[in-house]
Symmetry: C2
Subunit: 342 residues, 2 copies
C-alpha cells in the first residue's frame, strides 16, 4: 500500500493524506482522523527512501568505526556505546548506519558519505590527538559529534567525553594516598587522545605525591586481557617491582589480577589495582554497592546517549555553536586496593 493507493481508497488527494499524517494544520481534524484510521487499517507506512528523497533528510546517523589493518581489534565498549546512542535515535525516528572502514580509506569514505547523502550526521569514534577527521567534517559541513576529544586540534568541534586526566589523577592519587610509591600505568594506545590524557593525569598525580615517574612502569597498547597479564608479570619480576597498578580498562585489569595471583601475591594486600571501568553491561565490576575493583567508573552507555542527543540537536540546528559535554565519573573503592606493604 502506497500513498497513492491509500488516497484513492479515501477519495482524497495525495497531498491531503500526506499532510494529515504529518500533522500539518491545513487539514480538518475530522479528515485527519479518518486518514489516520485508514493508515492504521491498511498498515500504511511511507517509504523511507522516497520520503528521504523528497525531504532531503536521510533520517539516519552514521557511525564510522576505523578498522586498522594491523591492529584489528574491535573495541569492547562499542556494543554498549551504540546501545546508548541507538536508544536516542529510535526515540526520534532515526536509523543507525554502521560502517567499518579501513583507516587508509577514511577520508574518501566521509566525503562519499556526504555526497551520496545516506546520513544526516556522523559520530566520530576513537579520535587521535590531531585527528584529521575534524577538519574534514568541518569542511564538508556534515553535522558530527566526537566521542572523546582531540587535544591538538584547535578548530571548534562538538564532543562528549569523560574527564580522563582528572579521572586518572584521582585514581592514582587514591593509590598514592594509600602509601604506594611504585605505581605502574597500564595504558591504552597513547596516540589515541583518551590514553594520552590518562597518562597526563597519572603523571600529575605522581608529581603531586612527590613521586618519580619510571619508564619501566608505564606501558601502552591495545587494552586486552593478555596485555595486562604480560606486562604485569614482567613488572613484578623487576628488581624494584611496583606495589600498585593504574589500569585503563577492566578487561586489562583482569589480566593484571591474573598475573599478580599467579605470582603468589594477594591483590589488595600485597599489590593494589585500580582501573577505569566503563560500566559495561556484560562486565559489571561487582555490584553497585560492593565493587570488586577500585578505580573510577563512568558509563559508556550514558556517553552514547549524550552523543546521540547532541548530534540530533546539531542536525536540527546546524548553525548553532559547537556543543560539548563531560560525562561524570566517580571514584569507587573495592577490594583490590589497600595500604602499601611496609
Amino acid at each position: 500500500m502506497n500513498l497513492k493507493q491509500l488516497s484513492e481508497q479515501l477519495g482524497l488527494s495525495q497531498t491531503t493524506v500526506s499532510r494529515a499524517l504529518n500533522g500539518y494544520p491545513e487539514v480538518s481534524e475530522k479528515t485527519r482522523e479518518r486518514v489516520r484510521q485508514a493508515a492504521l487499517a491498511f498498515n500504511y507506512k511511507p517509504n523511507t527512501r522516497a520520503r528521504s528523497l523528497a525531504t532531503g533528510r536521510a533520517m539516519a546517523i552514521g557511525h564510522v568505526i576505523p578498522v586498522s589493518t594491523q591492529q584489528e581489534m574491535v573495541n569492547p565498549i562499542f556494543g554498549d556505546f551504540v546501545t546508548g546512542a541507538g536508544e536516542i535515535y529510535s526515540q526520534h525516528g532515526y536509523d543507525m548506519m554502521l560502517s567499518l572502514v579501513p583507516d587508509r580509506d577514511e577520508e574518501s569514505f566521509y566525503r562519499d558519505l556526504k555526497i551520496k547523502g545516506n546520513v544526516d550526521g556522523i559520530v566520530v569514534h576513537s579520535p587521535s590527538m590531531d585527528d584529521p577527521r575534524i577538519a574534514l567534517l568541518n569542511e564538508l559541513g556534515l553535522p558530527y559529534v566526537v566521542h572523546g576529544r582531540a587535544s591538538s586540534v584547535t578548530l571548534p568541534y562538538s564532543w562528549v567525553d569523560v574527564a580522563n586526566a582528572s579521572a586518572f589523577e584521582e585514581m592514582t592519587g587514591h593509590l598514592a594516598g594509600l602509601g604506594h610509591r611504585r605505581i605502574a600505568l597500564i595504558n591504552g594506545i597513547e596516540t589515541l587522545d583518551f590514553a594520552h590524557r590518562r597518562r597526563r593525569g597519572f603523571l600529575h598525580a605522581l608529581r603531586d605525591a612527590g613521586l618519580e615517574a619510571d619508564d619501566d612502569l608505564m606501558v601502552s597498547s591495545d587494552m586486552t586481557e593478555s596485555f595486562g597479564f604480560n606486562e604485569t608479570r614482567r613488572m613484578l619480576a623487576l628488581p624494584n617491582p611496583p606495589t600498585a597498578f593504574a589500569v585503563a580498562s577492566l578487561i586489562t585489569a583482569l589480566g593484571v589480577r591474573r598475573a599478580i595471583e599467579q605470582a603468589g601475591l594477594t591483590v589488595g594486600r600485597d599489590v593494589s589495582v585500580a582501573t577505569f571501568d566503563d560500566d559495561l553491561s556484560y562486565l559489571r565490576n561487582g555490584t553497585e554497592d560492593a565493587p570488586v575493583f577500585s578505580g573510577v567508573r563512568s558509563s559508556v552507555r550514558e556517553a552514547g546517549r549524550r552523543v546521540g542527543a547532541i548530534l540530533l540537536s546539531r542536525i536540527s540546528n546546524p548553525t548553532a555553536l559547537p556543543a560539548s559535554e563531560m560525562i561524570p565519573f566517580r571514584l569507587v573503592t573495592g577490594t583490590t586496593s589497600g595500604p602499601a606493604p611496609s
Copy 2:
C-alpha cells in the same frame, strides 16, 4: 554535482551518463571512458536515496538486536560479529543498518522494515528455540539469515551456526577423559537455542562417560564475569564440589577462575576449567600456539563473514532453497585443564 549537472558538463544526456557509469553495453568505450574521467574529476557519486528509489533496492542490510527490557545486556560477541559481516557488505557496496529493538516491539518492527523498505535483507540474532521471527520473515518474504538455529522451528530457513552440541560434548569429554567425575556446567540462558544445544552436548558426554548429571552443578544465566564467579564460589562450597567446569564463554570463565583462585585452589591442578572461546579480538585466549584456557574455539568474526555472504547471495537469488553452514570449531588444550585430583 548531480547527474543532470554532470551530463550537461559532458554534453550528453543523463541516460547515457548513467549507463556509462553502470557498465551497460549500449555505450561506446570512448564515451564511457570520457564519462568516467569526468565523474572522477568532479567527484560525482550517485545519490543513494534516489538510486534506491529508482532501482527498488535499498543496498542495505539490517541487523536487529533484541533488547530485552529486564536483562539489558549487550552481547560482547556483537562487535566482532558485525565486523565480520561488515567486511562482506562493504565489498559488495552494501551498508549496514543497526537497530536495537525492545523485544515486545519486534514483530511490528520487522513488518515496518519491510514496508518502509529500508533494507534488502536481515540478520536474525540470538534465536530462541521456537523463534517466531522465522515464520514472520518467511511470511514477509524478506531475505534473512539466522545466526544460530531454532531447534523447534520446522519451517525451512537459512542459518549459520557452530555445532554447539558437539562442541560441548567434545569439551566435556575432554574433562571426563582426564578422570573428572564431578563436572559443572556454567551455561548461557537456556531459552536461547545455542545454550540449549550446549546443555544437550554436555549431558551427552556425561552419559557416555557413565556419569550422573547433578542439578546443583548446572546453572544458566547471562554470560557475565560475575555470574561465573558467584556460581563457582557457591559450587566449591558444596559438600561434594565439582573438580571441573565447562563454561559457555571466556568472560564467564574469567569469573570461574577468579572464584577458584580465591578459594585458594590452583586452576589446572585442583580444579579444571574448559570454556567456549569465540576468539574475540579484545579477549584472545593466550596466543595461537599457547592457549591459556582449554576448551573449544570458533571464530565469531568468521561466522559474521559467512552470514553476510549467504545473505547477499539470497538477496540476489531470493527463490533459491534455504542455505545453511556450520562454522568449524577446534578443541584446544591450555593450562587450565589437568588430571582429576585423586
